[in-house]
Assembly symmetry: C2
Homo-oligomer: 369 residues x 2
């Protein structure tokens, strides 16, 4: 990939209104981020909604700043990007990484849990992490207080590798007291990973996105202590949906910090008392087969040809056929007398303009306003 295309990818990923799924569709359609960026103003104008590409100079500044920190970007679909994470439908288009990025290609197990951990819970997390790394696994967690920090510490204490996924930018360690731990992870053979740009202070909305990366990187997620409705349960749910193993450590019913983890066991999570309970249940690491494969810059033969220009009022016609009830894209194609590629191009524009939502099962619906 050329440096220019790499910068274009960063710009596209950083553009407001373009999430991971849209990024993926744009790249599918246009072949390169450069082409997608070029088409962006036109697509947005067609639907009457501005969609401003992220400024090139700003993206260049971020790349330089990351370089100065000793970090680098990993691009979805390119070598070095964690293959299991790439299997998520909403895999981050770009990750910023500090430390040894090669650990991201190794078999990882997430060890997560409550910030308000008990001393016993922290000890369990440390011992599990030590046992997992001793068995050659990488321990992944979220650098939070409590269980997360204990998991990282336990891995480092056993001279093992650990991955911290953080919610803000790489230069915004959170919580502040774990800044030394973050530095230690990067320095001692582990990796620190962020989806957010440098300079991003972590906000509540970043944590669910961080959780999906933790789950996506890992063969399995171990929940050590978790209250009801905690973030760790969110991570576990994503793991289930992504077909990863979910493990939980049992705890006393008198301790509310164990309610969520016990609930997981009740729902069928595997019980963990020692690292052996995890190691034996992990699948062999799948080979590096990301579901997403970037198209070469000049579209390859299997790429659908650019759609024949649709009539000027086609987007409006298509939009009129879409209500709040999800409708299959195939049905739309049949009803609007346009080619399938033309309809899909219009739908992408409508989605970018915020008028239409793409839904699972290749359906669309009017976006809730």
């Amino acid at each position: 990939m050329t440096p220019a295309e790499e910068l274009a990818r960063l710009r596209l990923a950083r553009t407001d209104g373009i999430g991971p799924a849209t990024f993926r569709r744009l790249l599918d359609r246009h072949g390169t981020a450069t082409a997608a960026l070029d088409a962006l103003p036109r697509a947005a104008a067609a639907a009457g909604k501005p969609l401003t590409p992220f400024p090139e100079a700003e993206a260049a500044r971020e790349a330089e700043a990351l370089d100065r920190l000793g970090g680098l970007f990993l691009h979805l679909g390119l070598p070095g990007y964690p293959p299991l994470l790439a299997r998520l439908e909403d895999a981050p288009p770009v990750l910023a990484v500090l430390g040894d990025r090669s650990v991201l290609l190794r078999r990882q197990v997430a060890v997560v849990g409550t910030r308000a951990a008990s001393a016993a819970g922290r000890r369990i997390a440390e011992e599990l992490a030590a046992g997992l790394t001793t068995a050659g696994l990488v321990v992944t967690s979220g650098l939070a207080r409590g269980i997360d920090a204990a998991a990282h510490t336990g891995a480092l204490g056993a001279h093992g590798r650990t991955v911290a996924v953080i919610a803000g930018g790489l230069d915004e360690p959170y919580p502040p007291e774990n800044a030394p731990l973050q530095a230690r992870i990067a320095a001692e053979g582990g990796a620190v990973v962020a989806e957010s740009p440098l300079g991003t202070a972590p906000l509540a909305r970043h944590f669910p996105r961080r959780n999906r990366i933790i789950a996506g990187l890992s063969l399995g997620v171990v929940v050590v202590e978790a209250a009801a409705r905690s973030g760790s349960l969110h991570t576990a749910r994503i793991a289930v949906e992504a077909g990863r193993e979910v493990f939980a450590v049992p705890g006393s019913p008198l301790d509310p910090r164990c309610k969520g983890s016990n609930d997981l066991l009740r729902q069928g999570a595997r019980m963990v008392e020692t690292a052996e309970d995890i190691i034996g249940e992990l699948p062999e690491a799948p080979l590096e087969i990301p579901l997403f494969r970037p198209r070469p810059a000049p579209p390859a033969p299997e790429i659908p040809p650019a759609p024949a220009p649709a009539p000027a009022d086609a987007p409006g016609q298509v939009l009129e056929m879409i209500g709040s009830t999800p409708v299959a894209v195939d049905d739309l194609v049949r009803r609007c007398h346009l080619s399938a590629p033309a309809v899909r191009a219009i739908l992408l524009d409508l989605e970018l303009s915020g008028l239409v939502e793409q839904l699972p099962g290749d359906k669309v619906a009017r976006a809730a306003r």
Copy 2:
């Protein structure tokens, strides 16, 4: 039942070498305990091994002593005998009971666990017992230190009913410090149950037999805290084999007192955090349909007729066909040219003489010496 037959039942049950399964077969064959006792010396002589009926005077003394204590006997197969317990293949032929025996006919849940309980475990046992009795269930346990005592205490504290099954005789409370608790259970609407005769100090070998009664009385068994290889797991195993529900309370992997209960969860026991987790999972109490039905004194038509006298050397011939590998009784019948009832009568004699063991699946084998 006549007082004489009642005394004969007690004598037969107390006779050395006659366990619950043999008791049942003898009663099946002879119709009454009186007839079985009469036949006993003959049967034993046939196999060359003495089998002395329990002395009548001694049985009478035990009955009087129990009466003085305010207790009474419950005979398997007669009204008042706990119907769920009667479903065990090795249900005790006779139980001695103090207190209100009617609670034994009500829906019971066993709450058991380790003697070396944690304060948290005792509190959980108390709360579960209180919740179960408040819902109208009877809490059954083993009067041991720790979890058992907490379960009884929790039930009494909620003005509920509780059943204590003890390993020794009713006049031998164990452990001694729980003698006041035993007295309180009998006085406050509960019942204390013993299979052992009065005056029996509890020995190690009595506890597994006590455990089977706890499991047999109950719709389900809840294990609160249990180390690996503990008696509570034995109780849980019997419950599984008898088709009862098994529940366990989760606990920290750092606490060895939770190893056994966590193992139960791993093996599929239902997780318990509150009494509601138990109540909703209990089957409706089966109606009083003991699998064992005593035959009326003159054998009813469905009783197989007394076997035609077998040749004098028949027992020896049958015995020769039985080795250490279990063999099906049906096969023996086919091979020895005797009627099935005759073979079964010989096998019963051989069993009483200790030469042959009856095994599950209607098989027999040479008894290990």
